[in-house]
Symmetry: C2
Subunit: 361 residues, 2 copies
């Protein structure tokens, strides 16, 4: 099968012929229908902690082609979404309702077990997130998949595997925003837009979108933002205080980029007692003023929106059918696997929300 392989980092993807291993007892072979390009993949293209070569990609949908002998959850022909975070089901995190923190979440790195992917020269190839969805097929643990109903279009369903649950989940699951709260979202890319529609679902009052790109802010309005601030033009903190007179800031803020200054901005936007939730991946330190913390402000991380895929998927599918979940609007372009590098270039330049690679089946 064909896959996009990363040989060095920083580096670009090369389309290669790749073989998949034998289907293990609890493994499932999936024919990929669609896979989304996410900033997390882009991080690996510029610097990675994983063994190379590797096939990136962790947001996909497809159809089950084969199942291992011990697989009970899925059958051949099932439609599935690849879950950005697998779970073991037996560790204390899984058993305490936080499978997203699972110790054995399937982050296969091709070092301590036989590789599931092979290059034509016989070299093993590691799997990003135990998935590696930039490929025509994926061979993954059954706990890295979640079944969906067959009436859901697969190209849109792909987005349910990462960006949608990460953004909406941060609002509904991690922060548990109550109705009537004022919310600010810093960063209006794929995840930020989903924070915005999460805030809308939560019944938030003001939903203030902050970005430096007016096109993204327009899109933010379409997703439910009541107010937008271009922070390259306006002082975002000052503007929020003007939008919410006498409030001292928002009750809840979300950071959906992964930069030092935006994490600090999210905290600075909070009124007393408020909660900032950081979704973006930032591999450095952030600074917080101790005196503002003291007034019962809080900052917390959200991993993949604290998602529990098997619990949450029914909710997302119902929302989509009811017209309450924007999926179609998240897709900026549909491209082929051969166009994936150009797609990442556009993502890096901030020109697209989600590019989705479609595989002809």
């Amino acid at each position: 099968m064909r896959a996009a392989v990363l040989f060095e980092s920083p580096g670009t993807l090369r389309i290669e012929d790749v073989s998949v291993g034998q289907v293990g007892p609890r493994e499932v072979l999936v024919r990929v229908a669609a896979t989304g390009l996410c900033h997390s993949d882009l991080h690996h293209l510029t610097s990675t902690y994983m063994a190379l070569p590797m096939v990136p990609g962790h947001e996909a949908s497809g159809v089950v082609e084969a199942v291992g002998v011990d697989v009970s959850y899925l059958a051949v022909g099932d439609h599935v979404v690849a879950a950005c975070r697998g779970f073991c089901g037996v560790c204390e995190w899984c058993l305490s309702g936080r499978p997203v923190l699972c110790e054995r979440a399937g982050m296969r790195r091709g070092v301590d077990e036989p590789p599931r992917l092979y290059l034509q020269d016989g070299r093993g190839c590691s799997q990003m997130g135990g998935l590696s969805t930039f490929a025509e097929q994926i061979l993954v643990h059954e706990n890295s998949l979640v079944r969906i109903d067959k009436d859901i279009p697969l190209d849109r369903a792909a987005l349910l595997g990462c960006g949608v649950v990460t953004g909406i989940g941060a609002v509904l699951r991690t922060a548990q925003v109550p109705a009537g709260a004022n919310v600010a979202v810093v960063g209006c890319g794929g995840v930020g837009l989903n924070c915005i529609q999460g805030a809308l679902l939560a019944g938030a009052n003001r939903i203030i979108a902050i970005d430096i790109d007016d096109d993204k802010l327009q899109l933010a309005k379409a997703f439910g933002a009541t107010d937008v601030i271009n922070s390259s033009v306006h002082d975002a903190v000052q503007h929020v205080l003007e939008l919410l007179p006498g409030s001292g800031g928002v009750e809840y803020s979300f950071e959906a980029i992964g930069r030092r200054e935006t994490c600090e901005l999210a905290f600075a936007l909070l009124r007393k007692g408020g909660t900032a939730t950081v979704i973006g991946v930032y591999d450095g330190n952030i600074e917080l003023p101790g005196m503002r913390l003291l007034e019962e402000r809080r900052i917390q991380g959200s991993m993949f929106g604290s998602v529990d895929f098997r619990r949450d998927m029914r909710f997302y599918l119902d929302l989509y059918r009811d017209g309450r979940l924007k999926l179609d609007e998240l897709i900026s372009e549909r491209i082929s696997l051969d166009e994936i590098s150009a797609g990442f270039d556009r993502l890096a330049r901030g020109e697209v929300t989600r590019s989705v690679v479609l595989f002809p089946n």
Copy 2:
């Protein structure tokens, strides 16, 4: 009446004759029985944001001597504790169960209303926290007092007005530590010891006390610590990992000092999904590693233990009567008002947990 007055900051307290104003409609005049020396007072002695001259002190007990015409909550002769944080009862914070964040919490600064205290030369004198308890009498809003039963010794009751509720409240109210959790407490002064007994009340599993003073660590054991670490000798993070093999850290940590490095240590002690609660007042920035935040760690401030005095006092009084709340053991020494400066010197040197000034009545 006699009171300890701060004329300049940095500076030392001087015992002066001070007059109190007329009792206003919702004010109460209290004959102070006992007042505790807290690190927050020490902060004002070295640098203050308040108008000087000022009488510090915000932890006290006493007996009601006079009440204003509109006071309904208290009567002459009632025993009371001065609450480190008053409340208005009508703002959104009070009405949403967070009176500690009250907008009009009675932080009288002597600038926008007639002073309640006067020096002999007629100059007004501001009230710390709307209280100013380093004095034979206090004239305060009725919402800055909480009634206690008369069987509770007043010297011990004084500590219920700040240190006890701040420490125990941070554990039970702010962080809401569940039974079975592993807890670390950084700093074993008056507030830290109360975090430890709060963790014991919560049914915590390991309660790990961290300090640089072996005497304080011995006291920590008496208050319920299961393990102690002298962080001037051992690497606290490494030691916690050894005490809790395979855990990755504690679920809950508390910072009860107010220093940059101890705030950062509290966060570094957390396992995935853990919560650090900062109680100490630190007027600078703290740094947090973004990648550790991402794993759903959280850091939050606790103001006076998120206390609601009128709700919580019954609980504390019952605990004390049942022998489940250590108050006697918190008092290192009983001194007179004239000895207050020497008491603060000992507090600054870390030689005492709580010095309590007793007034002869």
